[in-house]
């Protein structure tokens, strides 16, 4: 049972998966409540382009890709200001273009194709000390920002317009949040890969939402569920010999299905009890 723990790479990967799971779960609450799930999926693709460009230009991966992701988020916001263009269409245009740019650069310079498999599908066992340090820094900053901005973020997420009338700087809140989201996706790339990040951002908050009606409880639950999925997913992947990213996603999907079934049954039995009471 403790066999995997004798490998340093496994421990490092496990810590990374737990932190990334919790971080995505935390940030995901705001994404899901503002019905922006698609932006998580889109931005991870955009950031892939940023990662390749950073590599080609020999810029630090974390800084280059984060800046690229943030810039993409700003361009999406700017594009969606046109009344004729809905936000989801803007996301589709900007992020896919960015992803295509990454692919174009890779196919042009075929020599480094192999390096980007990790960015696409995640390679948790290849997590370096530097990757882990970046994950820890982004996690700390995100937790502090979400605690400090708790009231502002809640008001903005629930009722953006009235928050603005009350003097909440909603524009700055959105910009700050885009920065944190971009950084979160960049540090999660190594663990989950472009193609799998969306589920880490969406599933834990949805599971938490099914279990609670309170915003505060949803944030705490979602972070815990995200961490647990990361931890259990990677531990399982060692035994069943399946890629870690895929195992984490499948594990959280299984958890979602169980909670979904449980809450549906619970609601049904509540309804039955209520109708029994009203018949009495």
């Amino acid at each position: 049972m403790f066999e995997p723990f004798q490998y340093e790479f496994f421990i490092r990967g496990m810590v990374a998966a737990t932190l990334v799971g919790g971080l995505c779960g935390l940030i995901g609450v705001y994404i899901v409540l503002r019905q922006m799930a698609y932006i998580g999926h889109g931005l991870s693709h955009a950031i892939f382009g940023g990662a390749v460009v950073s590599y080609v230009l020999s810029i630090n991966f974390f800084l280059g890709a984060s800046a690229w992701g943030f810039l993409s988020a700003l361009i999406i916001t700017f594009t969606a200001r046109r009344k004729e263009i809905a936000a989801d269409a803007a996301i589709g245009i900007v992020t896919t273009a960015s992803f295509a740019l990454g692919l174009a650069l890779i196919s042009r310079y075929k020599t480094f194709t192999r390096n980007f498999d990790a960015a696409l599908f995640g390679n948790i066992l290849g997590v370096s000390g530097q990757d882990l340090a970046a994950i820890i820094v982004v996690s700390l900053i995100s937790v502090v920002a979400i605690i400090l901005g708790y009231k502002l973020l809640l008001f903005t997420a629930f009722d953006r317009e009235v928050a603005h009338f009350h003097g909440v700087p909603t524009g700055w809140i959105d910009t700050g949040f885009s920065l944190i989201l971009a950084a979160t996706i960049v540090v999660s790339l190594q663990v989950l890969g472009v193609t799998l990040i969306a589920s880490a951002i969406v599933i834990p908050p949805i599971v938490a939402r099914l279990l609670t009606n309170s915003f505060m409880k949803m944030i705490i639950l979602s972070s815990i569920i995200g961490s647990l999925c990361g931890l259990c997913g990677i531990y399982l992947s060692f035994y069943i010999d399946v890629s870690s990213g895929a195992t984490i996603v499948l594990f959280s999907t299984a958890l979602f299905s169980i909670v979904m079934a449980y809450t549906s049954l619970r609601n049904k039995s509540r309804l039955r009890r209520m109708s029994n009471l009203s018949e009495m």
Binding site: L33, G149, K151, F165, H166, V168, N213, K217, M218
Partner: protein, 272 residues
Amino acid sequence: MLHPTPHEQNQGIPIIEIQALSCGYGNQPVLSNVTLDIYRGDFVGFLGPSGSGKTTLLRAILGATNIYSGEILIDQIPISAKRPRIGYVPQLETIDWNFPVTVEEVVLMGRTMDNIIFPWYSAADKEITYEILHRLGIYNLRKRHIQELSGGQQQRVFLARALVSNPSLLLLDEPTTGVDIKTRDEVMHLLHDLNHQGITILLTTHEINAVAAHLPTVICMNNAIIAKGSPANVFTPENFLKTYGAELLVIQHQGMTLVAESPHLDNNKERL
């Protein structure tokens, strides 16, 4: 009696001064050359067809439109210079009722900007929140999710959120649209009570007989102000023709002004 008597109006310096205001969204003008004074203690209803600029006028006062010319002053300070303290109650249909928040969490939002140094709500925030919840009779519902409430209770929650920041001015966007008759009367009673306590209230409405006729002041709008005054003075066929582009029948009955809200009077006449 359906509604308490209107509050005595105080004249003097207006709480809101709108001077030759033209405003809209982007490059699309909605209101042109609106001049209007609202006094402390006023209770005003804005009437007009959809797209007539009722809501836009409220939003202009809140600083949420593009102002092309003219000015809005609140307590003699231009709104562009200082954000005024206004309680705003949005239309209930704009609310995401599935959002995971309790009654108490929603009402506390109204205190967000009162202490921004601490990320949590202060004891004073909670005290005033509980006081308002008591005043509006929803204190015992404070732990409930917002979806588990009746229409009248939901309206009270958002009224409470507007009131916790201690505003002297309250704006409501169609507070009686989409609610049942009982809720509508409940809300109007509550607003009359608040007005009696000295709060200046502005609201928009589509309901001429049920809402506007019971207010001390009504303003008919159609991208500009058509008429302002007491319902008895404003409710005339000429004013309604200018406001709605349709002839509405006005009936005086036992001191009440009733309006037959039938848009096809001409056709009916022909059939008769």
